[in-house]
């Protein structure tokens, strides 16, 4: 067998290398050196990311396949991987001070190893062109997360969250694989390309519809689309903040892209008949339910969980648009969403570390005691709500534009519903701002000094919020890349 084809999966290998180095460091370095582990890992991953951006190093400038077409890569794919990398790096930076704390002394290494493994799994998920590889990637990406959710062994909530997560995750993967078995029965192969042809050939049958429904359910679980989202809030609330932020952005982003890939490359031909309408319903329900729940939350992590559910609904607009423009818009949305959400989680993490407070009611008067944190939080909220000139506005505008590019009247209606929902979301995002800036009660959180890692993380995210939109190059780059990508052909 030709080992050179491993070189096609350069980015996966890079992550593996990082993983191994971290593992070795964690195993063989003396205890004292453990303190440096977070910085070590971050730097390594940062290097990998940087390398990923230059095409002739790790990133792929052209489409390529490996393992008889089980694995494929292309500029757009390495682009999404780089986006995930950036997110992961930021998460690592923000988690430094948490992972550096003493009670993490003995498990510090595991955290990073697990995290890197999930990242690896997501890469596989994205690059897979064969369902076997895809499932492996999926499980790689979701199982270690359960362990990470359970990371605060001593905290009951952490355990409860982990149990809920693992049970529902296994259930959903069972359902998902059941769907896959149907697909197999219909297509006789697990290669996307073969299946695409088979679907194109065969008509619509109950089995196909169920298969698609189950696949959507399985992916919907990871994307936390309603009604497959019920685990989300509990897990986000229970998990350690760093894990929550990782869950909320990275795994969601990767799943979204993988979902688009499956939908386009496997079920692309039955878009109009079957799954456009499924997604249509799911998007409306997701956005609305997410918003309605988010309105009443007090715990910030839970609040952001529901907000991320409704955000997932907006992301899905990129899938239902089902054209290159909307795909690019979706990736852009994910990128911006990563930055905005991580900014919020950065603030939450900092405050939680310093004071242990994570309730919205504790945030009142924050603008007096910690003006900078409050400012970061407000920018994050505005960006999530889609207020110009922050990046969120552009991503929302473009994802709507992309969706409407699909052209049917139904899409106009869908976008209108989504737009009306933005008002509700604006409402609850403003609630946070209100608590921090307007609420006259005396401040709960006393002034404190956030660690330099937290500050660094916030600087990066805020810079992203401010620049990603105004600097048009980002979106332009994504759009051009996606036009280059080989599976633009599958889209309309």
């Amino acid at each position: 067998m030709d080992y050179s084809q491993f070189l096609v999966m350069k980015q996966e290998l890079a992550v593996l290398v990082v993983f191994l180095l971290v593992f070795l460091y964690d195993t063989f370095m003396p205890r004292g050196a453990g303190k440096a582990l977070p910085a070590f890992t971050t730097v390594l991953l940062l290097l990998a990311t940087a390398a990923g951006f230059c095409p002739d190093c790790l990133g792929s400038s052209c489409s390529a396949e490996a393992f008889a077409g089980m694995y494929a890569t292309s500029p757009i794919i390495s682009a999404i991987k780089n986006i995930l990398n950036i997110g992961a790096v930021i998460v690592l930076i923000q988690s430094v001070s948490w992972a550096g704390s003493d009670d993490m002394r003995i498990r510090r290494g595991e955290f990073y190893e697990l995290l890197l493994v999930t990242l690896f799994g997501m890469y596989l998920m994205i690059s897979a062109r064969h369902f076997l590889l895809f499932v492996i990637g999926l499980e790689c990406a979701s199982l270690p997360l359960a362990a990470m959710v359970a990371f605060d062994k001593s905290r009951y909530e952490s355990n409860e969250a982990a149990v809920k997560y693992i049970l529902t995750a296994v259930f959903s993967s069972a359902v998902f694989m059941m769907g896959l078995s149907f697909v197999y029965a219909l297509g006789g192969s697990l290669y996307f390309s073969d299946l695409y042809l088979a679907m194109a050939g065969g008509g619509i049958s109950l089995m196909l519809v169920l298969a698609i429904a189950f696949v959507i359910a399985g992916m919907g679980f990871k994307l936390s689309l309603v009604p497959f989202h019920l685990w989300t809030a509990d897990v986000y609330q229970g998990a350690p903040t760093s894990v929550t932020s990782y869950l909320s952005v990275i795994s969601k982003g990767s799943a979204a892209f993988a979902f688009l890939v499956i939908m386009a490359q496997v079920f692309g031909t039955c878009y109009a008949e079957v799954w456009e309408w499924m997604l249509y319903a799911i998007i409306i329900v997701t956005i609305t339910v997410g918003n309605l729940f988010a309105m009443r939350q007090n715990n910030m992590k839970r609040f952001l969980a529901f907000s991320s559910i409704s955000q997932a609904g907006y992301i899905m607009l990129g899938v239902i648009g089902f054209n290159t423009m909307s795909m690019a818009a979706m990736m852009y949305y994910i990128l911006v969403y990563i930055f905005s959400n991580l900014a919020a989680f950065g603030v939450i993490g900092a405050i939680e570390r310093a004071t242990g407070k994570i309730d919205m009611s504790d945030y009142c008067g924050l603008s007096k005691t910690n003006p900078r944190l409050a400012l970061c939080m407000m920018l994050a909220m505005f960006s999530l709500a889609g207020i110009p000139p922050f990046a969120g506005f552009f991503s929302k505008f473009f994802i709507f534009t992309g969706a409407i590019n699909q052209g049917s009247v139904a899409i106009y209606v869908l976008v209108l519903i989504a737009l009306i929902n933005t008002i509700i979301s604006l409402y609850y995002y403003l609630l946070v701002v209100k608590a921090m800036y307007i609420n006259p009660d005396k401040p709960v959180v006393q002034p404190f000094k956030s660690t330099c890692s937290e500050r660094l993380g916030l600087w990066i995210t805020v810079a992203g919020i401010l620049l990603l939109g105004l600097a048009s190059c980002v979106y332009t780059w994504l759009l051009n890349t996606s036009f280059l990508s080989n599976f633009a052909a599958y889209l309309m």
Partner: protein
Amino acid sequence: MFSNILIWFVVIPLLMLAGLGLCRDVKQVRAVAVAGSTALIALSVKLLVDYLALRAAGDTAPMLFLGSWTWFAPLNINLAVGVDGISVAMILLSSIILFTGSFASWQVPQPKAFFLWLILLSTGVFGFFISIDLFTMFMFYEVALIPMYLLIGVWGTGRKEYSAMKLTLMLMGGSAFLMLGLIGIYYHSAPAGQPLTWNILEIVNNTIDPGWQRFLFPMTFVGFGVLGAMFPFHTWSPDGHACAPTAVSMLHAGVLMKLGGYGCFRVAIYLMPQAANELAWIFLILTGISVVYGAFSACVQTDLKYINAYSSVSHCGLVLFAILMLNTTAMTGAIMQMLSHGLMTALFFALIGMIYGRTHTRDITKMGGLMRIMPYLCVCYVIAGMASLGLPGLSGFVAEMTIFVGSFQHADMFHRVFTIVACCSIVITAVYILRVVGKLLFGPVYDKHHLELTDATWWERFSTVGLIVSVAAIGCFPNFFSNLIKFTFSPEIFKVLGM
């Protein structure tokens, strides 16, 4: 890029923001605010002069000072700027009100943050007026909206949290429809095969398919109409204005509500005249209602700001009403009404703020005979009232008369009848204005404690005089402004209507 004068209307506020960021104490903040707004006034005057010079030189292009810089190339989004008479007038108005507003908020608490938000807001306003690219227009529009939330929420009074939230959500609700409308326009901006565009001047040349116009016109018109306080979407205005701090009410009623009318014309009607012509009657009824309705409900209010807010509903209703008449005179009147209402309502809110700052009440039943106590402010108030009820020689009269005469020229009986209905507002306006003046300024002093109160300070005199002079200028030399505006409504706008 910076050779284009228009860009500076956005650059200067940004520089002001930067300057404010560096400020250490109140004096510096005031210095920056005054310097910046003075620069803006100077710039807008220069713009006016240059504009008139070009027109005088026989430049008949629909827009002048055009400039376009690519932003999002794939979507053909450009930072495209250009002005015609209307925009020039609006820019002038905005800079005047910003200038006077920054004087009116001389002693605001936390001045640094306040001015930061205020300047951000005005950045949006200026950007909106200069841009002719739908995307940038919309972006600036929303930039102008959101600071209201904090300005009202933090510096406001009364039920500020409720009002701020309500105002923000309703306006954003409007802009939700607006966004859909704009994207829709984008996708029908060019005949099949040609590249789509956001640029107004290009869209107006290749007409939008009438079938889609019927769908997109209401979207955009309602979207902007919410900000234009169109019945029944006006209820944010009374609460919002009542709770906002002085300068914010000034800027909001004076300029922001004009964004609504301006947008209604520039986007909804300018780009989709056929639909406007077909559907005008619906909105004519709505706006006609809000003209009379606002005036009537102003008659029984007791809170000064509520009275003024409802009168704004009535006056801005008149603006939209006139725009929908789709003829040169009425539309000219609409723009003049925007100018005049902007100035005089700003004057009103400034005075109300100053009176409230002294008496700590806005309830007209708890005040009286202030004329003896603070003559200067009260005389200004009477002048503002006279302007508002349309006394010749002040701005209100010329604007309203232009609107009435223009609307009555409409060939259709329905329109003329509605014009007469709208005319009735001048009586009702007189009723509520004189009611306030009589209760508040005249008669015996109601509250003995008010006797110690002082008259206006120098900065207050400064801002009020500035506004009064502008009001009188429009009222005394209307032809200058009407010619400035009229050119834009040259018949080729209505060529599609055969008007």
